[in-house]
């Protein structure tokens, strides 16, 4: 089959690889009909997430049709022919973490738990196409994929919604939603979202759906801010204005009640020397993150507020504003999304028309053009917001 693979830092390559096969009895094989490129794929390609290997099949946002199931898959849960969206964290459904609905912390799905434990203190779940630290699972930017614990994760789509309407249930819509949910939003809340990429856009839509009084979008790309503005959110361009002053202005001096970091480890900064400081430290690997967005969110949030982090971090960061965090009684909440928890309720919101996930799609390309897809997405060319790939 054809598959998009990691080919060294800053390089992906569509190659011919063997077709997947059942390795565990609860596996299924899915023929992929739609897949997507995620912002976190860029961290892998840029080489900031360790343990990628040449030839790793990438991609963790995909859906398709079940063409084979292992002997251990309960036929009441999944059969050949089912149309499914596959959540990016692989979860067994039986361990303590899964019982607590902390699916992205599943205790059983990562065969490389030993490596993850050294890095993070405790292991994390397996994730499709997302380094060997999270299991070494082949990903979904391919024609076919093997899906472990197929009777737990995949969500059956039985209505006639299009791929584009449901594909993002695999990651970015639940991730954005969880970012807003962790904010414990009240009707009086002003919510500021750093990053107007696809996850940020969905965090904004979710914050509004959960009842926020006002939602602010912070980014530097005019087209991304315009996209947020068209959806009814208030844009702030950090290259044009001082973010803190603008946020004070927009909130009567209080600061946003809730702040969401939808940027993560590779953020850029309006101030060139601060950016250079982190960029150099990151390049020589003396810190792994460039956490401007997180720092600014903590410093901007009103006292007693919540800072919710859904942008991806992988290692260690410097100059964490612990003083602001502690003295102003801020709550920091975070996590890789527990997608399985949100798929059904969000599918219902899509069916009811409360959220339109298709609004972020700007490019649809054949799988064979994945390299070009990464290029324009990474460099924000051609007003690229979200790339969907068709195998």
């Amino acid at each position: 089959m054809r598959a998009n693979t990691w080919a060294g830092r800053n390089k992906v390559k569509v190659r011919d690889v063997p077709d997947p096969r059942i390795l565990n009895e609860r596996d299924a094989i899915v023929r992929i009909t739609s897949t997507a490129i995620c912002g976190s794929d860029l961290h892998l390609v840029d080489g900031y997430v360790p343990t990628m290997q040449d030839g790793d099949v990438m991609g963790h946002e995909f859906m398709g049709e079940v063409i084979e199931v292992g002997g251990g898959v309960d036929p009441d849960r999944l059969r050949v022919g089912d149309r499914v969206v596959v959540p990016f964290p692989i979860a067994c459904g039986a361990c303590g973490a899964c019982a607590a609905e902390l699916y992205s912390c599943c205790e059983n799905s990562n065969p490389n738990a030993g490596i993850a434990e050294k890095m993070f203190g405790h292991p994390v779940a397996g994730i499709f196409g997302y380094s060997h630290l999270t299991g070494g699972f082949a990903g979904g930017q391919a024609q076919y994929a093997r899906v472990p614990f197929a009777d737990v994760g995949p969500l059956k789509i039985e209505s006639d919604l299009t791929d584009e309407q449901v594909l993002f249930l695999s990651d970015i819509l639940p991730t954005g939603y969880m970012g807003a949910e962790m904010c414990d939003i009240q009707p009086t809340d002003v919510v500021a979202v750093w990053g107007a990429g696809p996850v940020g856009q969905f965090a904004m839509d979710s914050a509004r759906a959960l009842g926020a009084a006002k939602v602010i979008a912070i980014d530097k790309e005019p087209y991304r801010l315009q996209m947020a503005e068209r959806a009814g959110h208030t844009p702030v361009n950090f290259e044009e204005v001082d973010v803190r002053s603008r946020l004070l202005e927009l909130t009567g001096g209080r600061g946003p009640d809730k702040c969401i970091d939808a940027v993560g480890m590779e953020s850029s900064h309006g101030s060139a020397h601060v950016h250079a400081y982190d960029r150099i430290k990151q390049a020589v690997r003396s810190e792994t993150e460039r956490p401007h967005a997180l720092r600014q969110a903590i410093l901007s949030c009103r006292s007693g507020g919540i800072v919710s982090v859904i942008g991806v971090y992988g290692g260690f960061l410097d100059k964490f504003p612990a003083g602001a965090w502690m003295n102003r009684a801020l709550t920091l909440r975070t996590g890789q999304c527990h997608v399985q928890r949100y798929m059904k309720p969000l599918l219902q919101r899509i069916e009811r028309g409360e959220i339109d996930p298709t609004r972020v799609i700007t490019h649809t390309l054949p799988l064979d053009q994945a390299e070009r897809g990464f290029e324009i997405f990474k460099n924000k060319q051609d007003n690229c917001e979200k790339v969907v790939l068709k195998p």
């Binding site: 693979t5 361990c95 070494g136």
Partner: protein, 332 residues
Amino acid sequence: MTQLATREAVKAKQDDVQRRGRRLGWMSLGLGVAQLAAPDTVRRISGVDDSPTTRTVVPLVGARELIHAAGLLTSRRKSTWAWTRVVGDAMDLASLGVAIAHRNGRRRRRLVGVTGAVVGITVVDLLTAVQATRAKRIGSTRAVRGSREGGPMELTATTTIRKPPPKVYAFWRELDNLPTFMAHLEEIRTTGDRTSHWSASAPFGKNVEWDAEIVDETPGEKIAWRSTGNADVPNAGTVRFVPAPDGVSTEVHVVLSYNIPGGAIGKAVAKYFGEEPHQQLDDDLRRLKQVLETGQVVRSEGAPWGKRARKEFPQRPAQPLSDSEFAKGADS
């Protein structure tokens, strides 16, 4: 001294070598940058600003220092890189000797001063290089010190499994289940009510077999066993099944002890446990948890061989296996 204490001493020495190697690396970096960024200042201080040749030589020496720095700061193999510095020092001293012979007065005094400093640095480099080489030799005798003289080794590990204690106990008490998750076991055959015959798999040393007996057990709570007769690797183990505070799960606490013999078998066992013997038992228990909670040892494309995935990283790529690779199995 216990085995662990010895290991810690070796580790402390290795850490010290790493630290000193890094310090030399930073020094190289400083010298290299100075020689490349301000070669004329360096030439003046050294008293060789009268020779046009040094205009080329000084930046070249600076570039060489940067290579030392890169090696010492990024590589774990400090011994090799410390020796490259010693070689560099010898080159520097030879050039300085030539330079002194051709100069008089103020320049000569400066050169002698610089030469004195380089001699001092050479002594430090030589000491570090010798010690790094020695630490490497000690370190390579592996976790279980004295693969020649052998000795006792005790491992402990624990995990929590979301099944009640009687279930987990019953699974363990069927001793032939143990090889499904314990990497070093090939087969356990029950030979009597309390007796069994165990055989180890290849990585643990070929053809290692022994008889064992259960010496103590409380159903649902505890099993203790030990090898009997003339076992190649005398060993014993205890596993306790403790109800977890959540009321549904079981804490599994395992203690294994081995009496590592000398000779080839001892060497194979020591090699099997590697530098982190606890990791093996931790991984065994992780697989026990997978088997009990999900039915099987979980496999990925990067780690497709279940308990036979001996080497964690680098793995095969996270890419589906070809038919021939799959047919060959873990040994491919």
